[in-house]
């Protein structure tokens, strides 16, 4: 495995090197960086031109220029832009914004997409499957910039207007509930009587929840609260362990429930700790959660430790996440007041000159991330759901799945342990390839939402024929993509031993 990782690392760096060379040549050919100075007839123009030629090495052929750039790069110097400012300082700010957007969108898109894909594979040729297939086709054909502009207009501006008096009209509740009921009924597999019951339950639950949220003005000051966190985390722990471990051996479930319960019970005691939190203390708490859950899984898991530990850690982190979301939502009210009742942001990656405690700043960047991420997820969702559906179907047709069924294993075990785990192996490659596509999407969404990220920096510098910042942006994006690909490859090799042994 180590040899594999080393080999992969070497290949990755060579690929990145070659990619920077191609880009460097293309960018160098894309225009004349001196054009703006040539038009000026002031006496300083000559001197400025000479200085720029020296700074950008315009007097040497392109390959030589590339090696100059590369040598500087290895010394940790990314060069200067046309006006002489160092690229690295601009890049640092832009990178955080864009990487945040890209990574969150990729992970969320993959998670939701895989869930949808697996469900539609398990219900092949059902109305759910047909609906998802059609929706995926539409998503494949949507231009990102169009979706982003639409989101900006309808999700942000009109949603913000609606938030002033957050009452959901009855007909909207009715429509949403009917839709939810139809979705659940189409997933249900069986006779029409069961379908009808599923529809009724789905309809009723959605309608009641929406009505309650609307009537209590929840959207004006949202929050989760202790009872909700307790119930949801315990339910999620039970659900996850039912899926993964089943009801035959209950030790993993005990471990997961214990981990979720301990987390939820710490809700009240944690509040003072959380009120003056920062990023470090949050990370520390997450680490502590993992350790405690690991110990719980190890002690309660019995012989099934290998299942119990991941389950306990998952439940613990989920509970922690819920508490985190709850605490962030406590900042909602004062936040909306401070941004003049327009919480869903449409421009930039943060409110300019905004100051507040950790929670307010986090909420601020979350509200700015919301729409661009949504646009990127919507586009990526189609691919992920299609690929995971195809991969899952392929696995479900394998002989070993038939064998598993033939020897009488419960359907849950067949699907989760035999089919799902193998079906997800090819998805790692798709995830890797897709990452570059998300970067492409990020360039466009940043343009729409006015983010000052990598994409904006890239388009601006390219338009102004400023080669060094363009290369800086590409270097960061390319490095992120290459690293992501490498991680996916290593994951693939870890999951499928045939790869690393060949």
């Amino acid at each position: 495995m180590l040899a594999f990782i080393a080999r992969r690392l070497a290949i990755s760096s060579l690929v990145l090197l070659a990619a920077t060379f191609i880009m460097f040549v293309l960018v160098a050919l894309s225009g004349d960086p001196l054009a703006d100075l040539r038009e000026q007839s002031t006496p300083q123009a000559q001197a400025q031109m000479a200085a720029r030629i020296k700074a950008l090495r315009l007097d040497v052929p392109i390959p030589v220029r590339y090696f100059g750039w590369l040598t500087d790069l290895f010394r940790g110097d990314l060069g200067v832009d046309k006006s002489g400012h160092a690229v690295s300082s601009q890049l640092a700010l832009a990178t955080t914004a864009t990487l945040q957007l890209v990574v969150i969108a990729t992970l969320l898109g993959a998670f939701i997409g895989i869930m949808i894909g697996v469900v539609s594979a398990l219900r092949q040729y059902s109305s759910f499957d047909h609906g998802i297939t059609f929706a995926a086709f539409v998503c494949f054909s949507l231009p990102v910039f169009w979706v982003a502009t639409m989101l900006k207009q309808y999700m942000a501006i009109e949603f913000n207007d609606w938030l002033r008096d957050p009452v959901i009209p009855l007909w909207v509740i009715g429509l949403v509930a009917v839709f939810a009921g139809l979705v659940w009924a189409s997933i249900y597999k069986g006779r029409w009587k069961g379908k009808l019951t599923t529809f009724a339950i789905g309809f009723a639950v959605t309608a009641v929840v929406l009505y309650a949220l609307s009537a209590s003005h929840w959207f004006a000051d949202p929050g989760l609260g202790f009872p909700f966190i307790l119930v949801v985390s315990l339910a999620a722990a039970a659900g996850a362990s039912t899926l993964v471990a089943g009801w035959e051996n209950l030790q993993p479930m005990y471990a997961a429930l214990a981990s979720a319960g301990v987390g939820a019970l710490l809700y009240q005691p944690l509040q003072p700790v959380l009120s003056d939190a920062n990023l470090l203390s949050i990370l520390g708490l997450a680490l502590l959660t993992i350790v405690v859950s690991w110990v719980l899984g190890h002690t309660l898991g019995g012989l099934l430790r290998r299942q119990a530990i991941p389950l306990a850690v998952f439940s613990g982190l989920l509970t922690g996440g819920l508490i985190f979301v709850d605490r962030i939502l406590q900042a909602w009210h004062s936040y909306t007041v401070s941004v003049r009742n327009r919480p869903v942001a449409t421009i930039g990656s943060e409110t300019p000159n905004y100051s507040g405690d950790f929670w307010h700043v986090s909420l601020d960047s979350a509200m700015h991330l919301l729409l661009p991420t949504l646009a990127l997820i919507l586009i990526g969702l189609a691919g992920h759901s299609r690929y995971s559906r195809a991969s899952m179907l392929e696995v479900m047709n394998q002989d070993y799945v038939r064998t598993a069924r033939a020897k009488g294993l419960p359907e849950r075990t067949v699907i989760i342990k035999h089919a799902f785990r193998n079906g997800m192996i090819p998805i790692t490659t798709i995830l890797a390839l897709d990452f570059a596509g998300v970067f492409s999407g990020a360039v466009v969404t940043e343009h729409v939402f006015g983010w000052r990220g990598l994409g904006a920096m890239f388009t601006k510098s390219l338009k102004e024929v400023d080669p060094t910042p363009v290369m800086g942006c590409f270097l960061v994006a390319g490095a992120a993509i290459v690293i992501w690909n490498m991680v996916a490859d290593i994951a693939y090799a870890y999951l499928d031993p045939r790869i690393r042994l060949s």
Partner: protein, 325 residues
């Protein structure tokens, strides 16, 4: 063995099941035309294509629409679209096109003519991207898959490198170089950088087909490599190539419109659907139709091509992934 043929029953067509011999092409065509989604896609694409190219005319050919896409005019009813599709008995104003079916922009330009011009350019660019990228990808994939050895490693490393560069980023740089030379040259250049997925698919096909007996037989009788590639292997990969060509067209239109949107694609005085959206994006609140029409046309073109591609895939590869229950 009996020579008495009097009692021989005609063996063909038991229970009315007539067996007809069909060529591969007939089989594929039959399967394609039985695919509802594909037929829908084909009809939609032909509709958009014919509408775009006959309405305002193309090049020297005149069209049936009387307003030019360049000229401005007087603004009627604040430039609202006059298209109406709700019949009178349903409370609408009847089915008619009106003076400006898609409305007018702030200078009074007829937006129908403008959208049609944008659709023409976008369709041409998308088709050209599809053709060029499929051609380049097929050549690279075929060479790599058939010859193996150093050719394969060199070409596949090149593919790996190209995959690392986000397509919009390299597309923007290429657009910056080629944008001033007109949309056709831009399409050519974009085709030259988007061949990677076709190359990988074709290479995979060639790798498996070159080990087959018929290739070995051809090699044994001394057939030249060129003949084996074009006459023996290529026809067997045609399905994969055609399907990926349609997908390249649909991603081509999305690439071109995205590039035009961020300003590196089709430039004024030429127009394209993406450029129209960029130009009129700020008018979203006051004149939303300027934003809607080009978007609907982009989706219609991309969606129809995707449906055609799906139908072709099912037609060429009818192994249905039905789960055994």
């Amino acid at each position: 063995m009996t020579l008495n043929t009097e009692h021989a029953e005609p063996t063909a067509a038991p229970q009315g099941m007539a067996v007809t011999a069909r060529t591969q092409r007939q089989l594929v065509t039959r399967r394609f035309f039985r695919h509802k989604g594909a037929l829908f896609g084909l009809a939609l694409f032909l509709f958009v294509f014919v509408l775009a190219f006959t309405s305002i005319g193309f090049g020297p050919l005149p069209g049936w629409w009387d307003k030019p896409w360049t000229g401005s005019g007087t603004i009627l009813d604040r430039g609202r679209p006059t298209l109406s599709v709700i019949p009178e008995f349903l409370g609408g104003s009847g089915i008619h096109l009106g003076e400006h079916p898609f409305g007018q922009d702030n200078l009074g330009k007829d937006y129908f003519a403008l959208t049609m011009r944008g659709a023409q350019i976008s369709i041409i660019v998308a088709l050209a991207i599809g053709l060029v990228s499929t051609f380049v990808g097929t050549v690279i994939g075929a060479l790599a898959g058939y010859f193996r050895g150093w050719i394969e490693s060199a070409l596949m490393r090149l593919t790996d490198v190209m995959i690392t560069i986000p397509v919009l980023i390299i597309g923007a740089v290429v657009g910056q170089i080629a944008g001033n030379l007109g949309p056709y040259f831009l399409a050519l250049m974009l085709g030259v950088i988007t061949w990677t997925s076709v190359a990988r698919l074709v290479r995979g096909q060639f790798l498996s087909l070159r080990e087959k007996e018929f290739v070995e037989a051809a090699q044994a009788v001394g057939t030249s490599s060129r003949r084996i590639i074009f006459k023996h292997i290529m026809p067997n990969t045609l399905g994969v190539i055609i399907v990926s060509a349609t997908l390249a067209v649909s991603s081509g239109i999305l690439l071109e419109t995205a590039l035009s949107f961020i300003g590196f694609g089709v430039r004024p005085p030429d127009t394209s659907l993406g450029q129209l959206i960029q130009t009129y994006r700020s008018a979203m609140v006051t004149r939303p139709w300027l934003f809607w029409w080009p978007g609907i046309f982009i989706i219609a073109i991309a969606l129809s091509v995707n449906f055609i591609g799906d139908g072709l895939r099912d037609a060429f590869d009818p192994r249905q992934n039905r789960v055994r229950n």
